[in-house]
């Protein structure tokens, strides 16, 4: 081993510990090959640090409204923390199949190290309905580290405007909880304009009203069924000192688009968080699409030819085997788009961000394009 001079004794000690650890680890790996120690430890302690892939365990599920619930999760030791307003990608096994979604974290960092997401069950939403209505305490979920730029500045501005609609409140509730859990709450003057379809279906309604009643925020509730749809141009009437306030908006695309135009016109900045619901529409039976190959080239694929054949005709080197759906020798990830199983018409849809970080592995020899799709190289 090359010797590196380390000036401090502590550094050498640390290195000795590291190398002892790595030796022990190598011995342990050699004792359980072809598994590694992680696979074995997973059986006993899936939340430990140093694991390949972060997991969490559902600690509790608390209903917020009839159609929404807060899921409290104890993340693994490697959870690096988050700033309120950020979101987390979470992989949930729904009826045995792992699906990935993104949810805002609805608490600041908590003393018990747990994280929470608040989920609204949307009609036809496989994961959201599962989490709100069927998920069980104790189940494991897959996690990635928190991400997102939708966070409050430090130091805090004097005046703040928060405009949220529907589940757009979720990152903001995290910010508010964090601010008001501090021993010295900030002196910032906060106005929250919260839009929802009706008062009954509004998440965190009572908590927000309590903040309002205590004078911590100025809460302006706008319910579509009482006040009609919010017209963005009324905002200046609702909030007379609008231009003095640092503005944050989160909600559906329609509202955010209108808000952005409004702020652009006034020459002011607006921080937004968009919940991008990526939609992949599968073509009708027999309808193909454009196939993007692992090397980036694009070819037309009809809806009746296996994408393996299409890619090979285009000169791509593809893994292949039996060519009849039996051997799984041709499996590669579908990064995005939809393919149809030519044997039974079953659709497999890959939505970036929703179906696993590496796409959905598919058998190319029995899958035909069902609309535009992109395939990746073998892992």
């Amino acid at each position: 081993m090359a010797s590196i001079s380390v000036p401090s004794g502590a550094g050498q000690g640390a290195r000795r510990v590291t190398s002892l650890r790595s030796v022990l680890r190598r011995v342990a790996d050699a004792a359980v090959t072809p598994l590694d120690v992680d696979d074995v430890l997973d059986v006993f302690h899936p939340l430990r640090g140093g694991r390949d892939g972060l997991q969490g365990r559902i600690v509790s599920i608390t209903p917020e409204t009839a159609e929404s619930a807060t899921v409290l999760i104890k993340p693994g030791r490697d959870w690096a923390g988050h700033v309120p307003g950020q979101y987390v990608r979470i992989g949930v096994d729904v009826d045995g199949v792992r699906l990935w979604r993104t949810y805002s974290l609805t608490h600041g960092p908590r003393p018990d190290r747990c994280i929470s997401i608040t989920v609204k069950a949307i009609p036809g939403g496989v994961v959201s309905n599962h989490l709100v209505h069927h998920a069980q305490v104790g189940r494991m979920v897959q996690l990635e580290q928190a991400e997102g730029e939708f966070v409050l500045p430090q130091p805090m501005p004097a005046k703040l405007l928060l405009v949220t609609a529907g589940s757009g409140i979720t990152p903001v509730i995290g910010m508010l909880r964090n601010l008001f859990s501090r021993r010295v709450p900030p002196s910032t003057d906060i106005v929250l304009v919260h839009v929802n379809q009706s008062a009954d279906t509004a998440m965190f309604r009572d908590e927000l009203r309590a903040h309002g009643a205590a004078g911590r925020i100025t809460l302006l509730e706008r319910y579509d069924d009482q006040h009609g749809l919010l017209d963005v141009s009324d905002l200046a009437t609702l909030v007379p000192d609008l231009d003095e306030r640092l503005a944050y908006g989160c909600g559906p695309a329609g509202l955010l688009d209108a808000l952005e135009t409004y702020y652009d016109e006034r020459g002011q900045t607006l921080h937004t968080e968009r919940f991008r619901a990526q939609v992949v529409t599968a073509g009708a039976e027999g309808e193909g699409g454009t196939l993007t190959l692992p090397d980036g080239r694009q070819v037309e694929a009809d809806g009746a030819t296996p994408i393996l054949d299409v890619a090979e005709s285009a000169g791509a080197l593809m893994p292949s085997g039996c060519r009849m759906g039996v051997c799984f020798g041709c499996v590669i990830p579908l990064k995005s788009g939809a393919v149809r199983d030519l044997r039974n018409g079953a659709l497999t849809v890959a939505v970036p961000g929703e179906t696993g970080p590496d796409g959905v592995p598919v058998q190319t020899c029995i899958s035909a394009a069902a609309g535009d799709c992109e395939i990746g190289a073998r892992r």
Partner: protein, 411 residues
């Protein structure tokens, strides 16, 4: 067995092409029923089996730290044998078939799984999933018919070296994992090629396999015994690992022999398989080319549900826990189309497979035409066939088969 197209009565002769396609449609429907229902329960099953296997293996290895004490040796060895069998049969084989790919869990996936066996996952997936499952029982295409070292079909030409095949078969059974590794590499064929002409692909696979064998051997015969050494258990632990591997090899070899070798399982001629074999025709070949083992639930799990070999060959990618469930439907279909659903208890199937190995170690017709009174002449004939070159062999072999036919006609 003789390829069905050469048999006096072809067991599929009564089926019209429409029947065969209808069989395909009905089997597709059985498969679809499982796909539609596949979910949480199945995922929970495989996760449970994996968790049990890992605990059992770790527990057994822990017990073997004290393997200097005979009762602990026995306990640990039994546990480790069972753990190794579960890992190879119910978990490894089935995960590598893609039976659990639908869960989209990268930790239980055909593209990432590596198993506790001398052969590499990649090599196995090619030789087993692709070649054997696609060309099942086609003489000359499916190397599983005798693994390239044995004669398990009348249509494979007899050669004197096959006289020793019962011995080969037993040795292969004891060291089955290495046999599989060699087989996946097509080692025999490749070693006959001059060294400089061997493909880069072969060399790469060979080096991967040797590396895997080294890691496997280091685990079983160095690291784990060394861990037991402080308690004086190096040699006993080594013996325990060796025994567990031996037990696993003998068991998996027996189960796998039962899948395609018992008497009465059909084989197929290469030229009788059309290039555009339909799904129905492929299904039919799988139906006739496999045999089941009947038995308890525990037996099914320990065979990796290969006791449902017929169902497995029809639906290699359905979760193994579902084979028992579809078996009655499949059997009913066999009955409906008047086909032989080949199923028997383990000892019977093992005996039948071994009977075939012994019978076919001898030239076709030899055993049938031999009785106590002509034993000496027949032995001389066999000696001549073994030593006097191909011409004598061909002539004698033709005569033996003619005599066998006459005997059959007389009877």
């Amino acid at each position: 067995m003789t390829a069905i197209t050469k048999k006096p009565v072809n067991p599929t002769a009564h089926l019209t092409p429409e029947d065969i396609e209808q069989i395909g449609i009905e089997l597709d429907a059985i498969r679809q029923e499982v796909l539609d229902d596949r979910g949480e329960r199945d995922a929970a099953y495989i996760r449970k089996v994996v968790a049990i296997q890992r605990r059992l293996e770790l527990g057994s290895r822990a017990v073997l730290l004290g393997s200097a004490l005979p009762p602990l040796w026995v306990l640990g060895t039994v546990g480790l044998s069972v753990a190794k069998i579960l890992e190879n049969m119910e978990i490894g084989h089935n995960v590598m078939h893609g039976q659990w790919d639908w869960m989209r869990d990268p930790k239980i996936h055909s593209t990432t799984w590596e198993w506790d066996n001398a052969s590499t996952a990649d090599g196995w997936k090619h030789a087993h999933n692709e070649v054997h499952h696609t060309y099942t029982n086609i003489v000359g295409k499916d190397n599983d018919l005798g693994y390239g070292i044995m004669r398990v079909d009348e249509d494979q030409r007899w050669h004197p070296m096959f006289l020793a095949q019962p011995v080969w078969n037993f040795i292969n059974a004891c060291f089955f994992e290495y046999g599989i590794a060699a087989y996946d590499l097509e080692l025999g064929r490749n070693l006959r090629i001059p060294k400089e002409k061997r493909s880069a692909e072969f060399k790469a696979q060979l080096s991967k396999t040797l590396k895997k064998i080294r890691k496997q051997a280091t685990k079983d015969y160095v690291v784990n015994p060394a861990l037991a050494a402080p308690l004086g258990g190096f040699v006993p632990a080594l013996a325990a690992n060796f025994t567990a591997n031996l037990v696993r090899n003998l068991w998996s070899h027996s189960v796998i022999m039962c899948g395609h070798f018992p008497e009465g399982v059909e084989t197929f001629e290469k030229k009788s398989i059309p290039d555009d074999e339909t799904r129905g025709q492929w299904y039919l070949r799988q139906m006739l080319g496999s045999a089941n083992i009947s038995g308890s639930k525990a037996m099914h799990v320990m065979t990796g549900n290969l006791s449902h070999q017929i169902e497995h060959h029809l639906f290699p990618d359905l979760p193994s826990n579902r084979y028992a469930e579809v078996a009655p439907k499949v059997e009913a279909l066999f009955e409906k189309y008047d086909l032989n659903y080949h199923s028997a208890p383990l000892p019977q199937q093992v005996a039948s497979a071994w009977h075939k190995v012994v019978r076919l170690s001898l030239p076709n017709g030899w055993l049938a035409t031999t009785n106590r009174s002509n034993l000496v002449e027949q032995t001389k004939l066999l000696w001549a066939m073994s030593t006097k070159g191909p011409k004598v062999r061909r002539a004698a072999s033709a005569r033996l088969q003619q005599q066998e036919r006459r005997l059959a006609e007389a009877a």
